[in-house]
């Protein structure tokens, strides 16, 4: 058998291929993004696309499975909050083709706003949840999950975590199963959730869960590993791997499916041990079921192991008082390296203006959230995707009622706007809001690694796709008269228009456009330079937070390898000390990047 080192996400994609999945939809979100990205390599076999958000993606997968297609929807943990509505319905509705819902949780919050434990969703919606502990299991559980789904007429949730998504381990590759025939048959009783039809479905769901619970005692991913002592460990997910490293001689109850909980298997396991350690990340999910069994054994769970952050061998040892995790070298003594907006980022000039105008700014989630950090400090709130617009509408209405002024704008990225900003804009129109909404339109989902979105003009499979024009959408579609398009590199235009629109007694939408600087890198032109004889070191340019600009001997300096010539620093410089320099060393003032590139004076670096 061929073995390859795959990440958990690659393995899930491979599992979808081998399981005969023919439909996959997702919305990007770390750590889940690479699942769909990797599914695109099987696009001849699996139709796949990005949904506008997680809810649309899950509904699409559910619809696909009604036709008999084996289907998959993947998302990050908070994405399931957005998709919670169809998630609960899916449990009652059941499936025709198998349906896998992947939730990639983020213990440790490597790139998220919380660390919710989505196994709780499986419990609440009454659907089985699988937790792979490495890439091999990630692949196998997709295949077994599809079987489970079809056998018990239930969607199956797979709970990945950042560690299982992004670590690589050896995986044995297999063949693809032949997908079932696609055949949608009208069956109103099956696919409608009216109260009268849903009541018997709930009864069926409870019965199904009992059957799956019975089956969970034989399920191949739930098993006992014999030990040499009377110590036992119950573990799921990657915690199992840490456990095996630490508890060398213990008995293990490895739970690949923690819910429905295999009570019989647990009781058998418990008969061999006196003391049980439970290793799981975040909530005491398994522990709660263990406590309900009342075995009288000593249980060591979340009273000792942390509810927060990731598990690791170090965390286990430290929790047991076996290792001191105090750092010998104090990391607070060295500078951090926070991520920053890139050199040439089309979001920078907007934030510079918001900061200069000292506006209140409701923010959103994307690369542009970095505009909240120093030196720009230009964002006050970050709640969830889409909340910049709605939260500001609420703030404005509350202030208006009290007769208070609020100089504020909402700022949101294009992908986030498509995801859940549109509905907020509807609320503004409907409720006579006066909100100013700035859409930072780089025509891509940059933060999660440049996935296409409805404004890109390409689809997930790389084919040309219709492109939604944000200006038309706001102006002609929703009737927001004061909708304007502005160049993200035009500092002055941004300044004037923001100043004007904040004061306007009507809603406005400012679409700030420019492609992401990371995608624009191909064209690396002669950079900008600081004329040190002119530089008065006022630091206005360094306050842009551009990683290409650093102080050097009391002057600003531009690192040529990093500069892409966006000209924003040249525009904010009060003494015109920053300019393009062509290959002959000629200095060119007051030129836009386009003019400079057209003049062909800026050769490749």
């Amino acid at each position: 058998m061929k073995k390859e080192l795959l990440s958990g996400n690659e393995a899930v994609a491979r599992g979808a291929y081998e399981a005969g999945v023919t439909f996959a939809a997702a919305y990007p979100g770390t750590p889940s993004t690479e699942i769909l990205e990797n599914i695109t390599q099987y696009k001849e076999h699996i139709y796949c696309h990005w949904g506008a958000n997680e809810k649309t993606a899950l509904e699409e997968a559910l619809g696909a499975c009604f036709t008999g297609a084996r289907s998959m929807a993947s998302m990050k943990h908070v994405g399931l909050n957005v998709a919670a509505d169809p998630f609960f319905s899916a449990s009652y509705l059941g499936v025709k083709g198998g349906l896998i819902i992947v939730s990639a949780d983020d213990p440790g919050m490597h790139s998220s706003q919380n660390e919710q434990d989505n196994r709780n969703y499986a419990l609440a919606a009454k659907m089985p949840v699988l937790e792979p502990s490495d890439s091999q299991e990630a692949k196998d559980m997709v295949i077994e999950g599809i079987k489970l789904s079809e056998k018990y007429n239930t969607p199956v949730m797979i709970r990945m975590t950042t560690r299982t998504c992004h670590s690589r381990s050896a995986v044995e590759l297999g063949e693809r199963e032949t997908p079932p025939e696609i055949n949608y048959v009208k069956d109103f009783k099956r696919t409608m959730l009216l109260p009268a039809l849903a009541r018997p479905k709930h009864v069926a769901v409870e019965k199904r869960q009992k059957e799956i619970k019975e089956f969970s005692n034989q399920f191949k991913f739930n098993h006992i590993i014999e030990g040499k002592t009377r110590v036992g460990v119950i573990a799921s997910g990657v915690s199992y791997q840490y456990g095996r490293e630490v508890f060398k001689d213990a008995w293990f109850l490895k739970l690949g499916m923690p819910y429905p909980f295999p009570s019989k298997l647990f009781r058998e396991f418990a008969s061999h041990v006196d003391k049980i350690y439970i290793l799981e990340e975040n909530d005491p999910f398994i522990e709660t079921f263990v406590q309900l069994e009342h075995t009288g054994k000593e249980i060591i769970g979340k009273d000792v192991f942390p509810l927060t952050g990731e598990m690791s061998t170090d965390v286990i040892h430290a929790s047991l008082g076996e290792k001191d995790l105090t750092l010998k070298f104090d990391l607070n003594s060295i500078p951090k390296r926070p991520p920053t907006l890139c050199a040439g980022c089309p979001h920078t000039a907007t934030f510079h203006n918001l900061s200069m105008q000292k506006l209140n700014v409701t923010g959103d989630i994307g690369c542009y959230t970095l505009g909240a950090l120093p030196p720009l400090n230009a964002m006050d709130t970050c709640i969830d995707m889409g909340a910049s617009i709605t939260a500001l509408l609420g703030m404005e209405k509350a202030c208006e009622k009290a007769g208070k002024e609020l100089n504020a704008v909402a700022i949101i990225g294009d992908s986030t706007f498509f995801h859940s900003g549109i509905t907020g804009l509807l609320d503004i129109i409907f409720n006579k809001g006066k909100t100013t909404v700035i859409i930072l339109d780089n025509s891509i989902t940059a933060m999660t690694g440049h996935q296409v979105n409805p404004g890109t003009g390409l689809n997930a499979m790389g084919e040309p796709a219709p492109r939604v024009d944000l200006v038309k959408l706001a102006k002609d579609g929703l009737g927001i008269e004061h909708t304007y398009e502005i160049d993200g590199y035009d500092v002055k235009a941004l300044k004037e228009i923001i100043k004007r629109e904040v004061k306007r007694e009507a809603p406005s939408v400012l679409v700030v456009r420019r492609p992401c600087a990371l995608l624009f890198r191909g064209a690396q032109w002669s950079p900008m330079q600081v004329d040190t004889s002119k530089c008065i070191y006022c630091k206005l340019c360094t306050k842009l937070g551009c990683p290409a600009i650093t102080p050097q001997n009391e002057k600003s300096h531009i690192t040529p390898e990093r500069c892409i010539g966006c000209t924003v620093c040249a525009q904010v410089c009060p003494v015109k000390a920053i300019q393009f320099v062509d290959e002959n060393g000629m200095h060119i003032h007051d030129t836009t990047l386009e003019e400079f590139m057209k003049s062909k004076r800026g050769g490749k670096k």
């Binding site: 690589r168 840490y242 890139c342 630091k539 360094t542």
Partner: protein, 190 residues
Amino acid sequence: MKSIIISGVGGQGVLTASDLLSDVLLEKGYDVKKSEVHGMSQRGGDVISTINYGPQVFSPLPSLYETDYILSFEKLEALRNINYLSKDGVIMVNDYVWEPLPVAAGFEKYPENIEETLKKYAARVIVVPATDIAVELGNIRATNVVLVGVLAANMDIDKNIWVDIVRRKVPPKLIDLNIEAFERGYKYKL
């Protein structure tokens, strides 16, 4: 089980280097688990990739004070991970400074004498001007393969396996450049 940490700044090629390394270890017949943190790495944040290998490996993560090798693409990033190194550990570091934003913006100072500090925690410290070498070879992007060469020179795995993997994994046009880069790094044996 042995552990290696590869650290650096987003965009420097840390993940490519750790891919090469894990291929070498697999080829050698080890069980390998590799972990990396994605996310904001492209945005100039710090990046680390960790590899555990041995006859049988469970955990994908390294442990504090138990890691055998650190290969760092940038000096400050070597220091940031120093607590992981075991007292017998080897640290290989690119002689290259990339100021993080808080330093560039003048809020904080880049630490002085990093090499001296590293020496207090490591059994051996090997400093290599990998970026300079790559620039000299005509392509700054070869920095990662120079550093892979340094790692190869200081680990106990047949050189042929490394060369073979580099040949197989880099784009065909860049094979000669990368083999040269590897050889230049391979000279830094301590």
